[in-house]
Symmetry: C2
Subunit: 354 residues, 2 copies
Amino acid sequence: MKKHNFSAGPCILPEEVLKQASEAIVNFNNDDLSLIEISHRSAPFVEVIEKGRRLALEHLNLLNKGYKALFLQGGASTQFLMTAYNFLSKKAAYLNTGTWSTKAIKEARLFGDLIEVASSKDKNFTYIPKEYTVPNDVDFFHCTSNNTIYGTQMKTFPETNVPLICDMSSDIFSRQLDFSKFDLIYAGAQKNMGPAGTTLVVIKEDLLERICREVPSMLSYKVHVERDSMFNTPSVFAVYVSMLTLDWLKGLGGVSFIEDVNKKKAKLLYDEIDRNPLFKGIVSKEDRSTMNATFTIVNEDLQSRFDSMWKEANISGINGHRSVGGYRASMYNALPLYSVQALVDVMKELERKA
Amino acid sequence: MKKHNFSAGPCILPEEVLKQASEAIVNFNNDDLSLIEISHRSAPFVEVIEKGRRLALEHLNLLNKGYKALFLQGGASTQFLMTAYNFLSKKAAYLNTGTWSTKAIKEARLFGDLIEVASSKDKNFTYIPKEYTVPNDVDFFHCTSNNTIYGTQMKTFPETNVPLICDMSSDIFSRQLDFSKFDLIYAGAQKNMGPAGTTLVVIKEDLLERICREVPSMLSYKVHVERDSMFNTPSVFAVYVSMLTLDWLKGLGGVSFIEDVNKKKAKLLYDEIDRNPLFKGIVSKEDRSTMNATFTIVNEDLQSRFDSMWKEANISGINGHRSVGGYRASMYNALPLYSVQALVDVMKELERKA
């Protein structure tokens, strides 16, 4: 019996994807060679990465709309500096909604001036600031769509005429948005897309004209776009599993289908958090993330009992992040509804027994 | 029957490593979870990366000698810029032995002045320059120990009192050297260490004091050393398979054992290239690489016949790089001696039939 895996990331991936990936490690493409011991420039792998790039754009409804998808290395943390290295000429505007925004801001400061248009640090990032304006004279505006650690999620994005850059690491491919409003989207693979080791970048080609300084090749979006995401050897396995996961999503019915499932899962859990007097949500209701639900147990004396109960129910990965405490249940695309039901059942059982 | 895989990289990996890796994708550590869906900060994965870092130092005889091993992302191509970003304050000296050295030089120029102490470009990099001196007033000296594309290998390294930085991507763990002479060694995993997606950096801790400018976190050796190679989510799968491969090497008897095997494989093939009148080696004999043997067929009319014959013998990956032509047989650690024998047999058979 597989565990109910609520890990915040790296996180649960579809079982059929894991099975295919496992097979490809011993025999890929029926070619009697492993996926990981063939040239990345061989036809079978080029097909993999091209399919992955196409599927990513397709899921975001950006195919043939002037965007390119890249599978880079280094995680979102590398994008923090790459976005600034390429595009921060004088000053840029950032929205600060948590740990990852704060880190993005720190790295960008090396390259120019920064305006923090708003921050929710005053309340330990338990809400998304809404009353702010993006200045018209900045190089770009940067925000984080979903805050994994706190469990908040931006439901709307500001209207602005400056380039819009968004870190969507923890909610990409989980919901429909008008992605054509964004000029650059990046996401570490290890939530809804695949294993750690590759980072998706979706960039509007027009934005390349705004590169403002000489950038080392590996950090240049222009270089990676020109070389079709194969400037150097990519993270072959991570790209392959990402492609499989994007293909799995397509087979299910795409982002619109999974968005419905994600809403059902989130509703099931948040309804129980609100109903059950033993538990309490941590963040503002209107900003609750459909991906990461954070909550506390009201009476701390019940904590060890609850912990034993969910472990016994084969649940894993719901301990809260050290900077928030309490619990965090991450409900990424591959987590089935019945796993959320299993957690809700334990919460109800605790109420009965308490 | 598995192919005789002479691919230049990504390249052949040990069969038992592939088998273990394949199993870990469905069930890692008997924990009913996949290796790629658990937290990188969970105890089982921390154990993996720590074991990998320890084994890397052990194989280089650098354990407890003031060095740290890191598993970073971005390939050797990212090290081209990172070495310069961190350590090139005024000027640095580079030895130019091929495509990868040339690329390293190009990226470093963004950060300071460069002295090319010698280059073998005059003869399409078919030899290793030997008559040069490393200036005493440079920030560091950089060289490439093995040139995958041309099939040349440095047999000795200059004595110098400036920091010695070496790209060992294609021959690390293949031979014994006095590695304590080096201040920083880097290597993309995808030759002798594992799959593409991680890069080993072995750095002398003293060198960290020479970081000469403010460096973004992801590009800072200091940050990665301080965070035990876990500043951000590492490339989990690539690190795991690298650890397994380093462990496999240890089980065999380590670098001294594999060096003997590598010498035997290289001797077998080069002896045939020199003996068989149909073939000719491309590079200077004294600079021949034990990892990548490059050769041409003297009478080009025989080429298509030879190509059919080696394909029929279940051999793959011996086409030469487009910038050199001819053939290239890569004989990394995991390639068995009998695969080289299979190639030599085909060369002999061609001679008999021609």
